[in-house]
Symmetry: C2
């Protein structure tokens, strides 16, 4: 087990409906020392890639992305969730269905922050059905930039997102892939990597 | 002029209605090297304070807070904005009026992440009328924890927030205080610190 899987076992909580609560270290309270290990691990896994920018999505991707960026020496851009698109300046947009909140968000990135020269590493905390990720990939493509890779903290391996993204040919590096959970016993089972 | 004021002069944009756009380095694209300087400066200014936790608010406070936290060796908690309060588990809440979006948000922090033993440094990107900050202070007080200080990147010195917070007796450290702006010339005038 790696450091993130160990932390999930120790501090994560399994709830009914395949919900994994990681809010004590990942997406409400944030364990910065853990984020530093995650950033270093992504740097190792994407060592051969020339990254010019990290792209993430508000809110819980931001902290991880900023700490990861220290390993790559690049700026971070976060996509904003917006119900009313404010097109002041020009924006790249994508429609994203939220699994947690069961609504459709428009996510936006100002055009001036992504160019065809950019080699983008996408970072996010969770991957489930992959809707947010596909929105981010769409935005990078709209800019004519290149997705060099995708770094995810926790992938729900029993949902389709990871498979879809890998089938599209992207290097997807999830630091923990949960294959199943048991809400009664609190057990979490990880995919061997 | 300090490093943040210099960056504002170089990369900020003044818009009609006393709007200062800093989205190329602070709150949409994020300059992580700049954030590191900000974190080190807050560590210097709060050197005598025993900080156990950093509290911020989504979304644009998160990146700054996470990088700052590396100087203090503490976790970060971010308050979430929520229209529908989900009281699963117990939450501290506060009502916050948004200056930018002209609506009222409820901000929430899970009770388990703030305790009476906590000595909290509040970090945020902007201080204008101070509503968000007062909400965060209220949440810390609800927890019986102590606000040890407040670190702000950019304070709009011509709005009431900074004065109100200082009058309440808090150590408020804004790295740049804008006293006035001129949308025609693009000039920004900073308060001497």
């Amino acid at each position: 087990m790696n450091f993130l899987e160990e932390t999930i076992i120790k501090q994560g909580m399994v709830k009914e409906g395949n919900v994994l609560k990681v809010d004590s270290f990942l997406n409400h309270q944030m364990d910065i020392a853990l984020f530093e290990l995650m950033g270093a691990e992504w740097k190792k896994r994407f060592a051969d890639k020339k990254i010019t920018k990290i792209l993430t999505i508000e809110a819980s991707g931001i902290g991880i992305a900023c700490i990861a960026a220290q390993n790559f020496g690049v700026p971070v851009v976060f996509a904003k969730k917006s119900k009313s698109i404010n097109l002041e300046g020009e924006m790249y947009t994508a429609e994203v269905e939220s699994f947690t909140h069961k609504k459709i968000n428009t996510i936006i990135v100002a055009k001036k922050f992504l160019s065809p020269d950019d080699h983008v590493l996408i970072i996010d905390d969770f991957l489930a059905n992959g809707c947010a990720l596909q929105g981010l990939i769409g935005i990078v493509q709209s800019a004519g930039a290149t997705v060099e890779g995708i770094g995810i903290a926790v992938e729900k391996g029993f949902q389709a997102g990871g498979q879809i993204i890998r089938n599209m040919g992207y290097q997807l590096e999830s630091l923990a892939i949960v294959d199943s959970m048991n809400a009664e016993t609190g057990e979490v089972f990880f995919r061997e990597q």
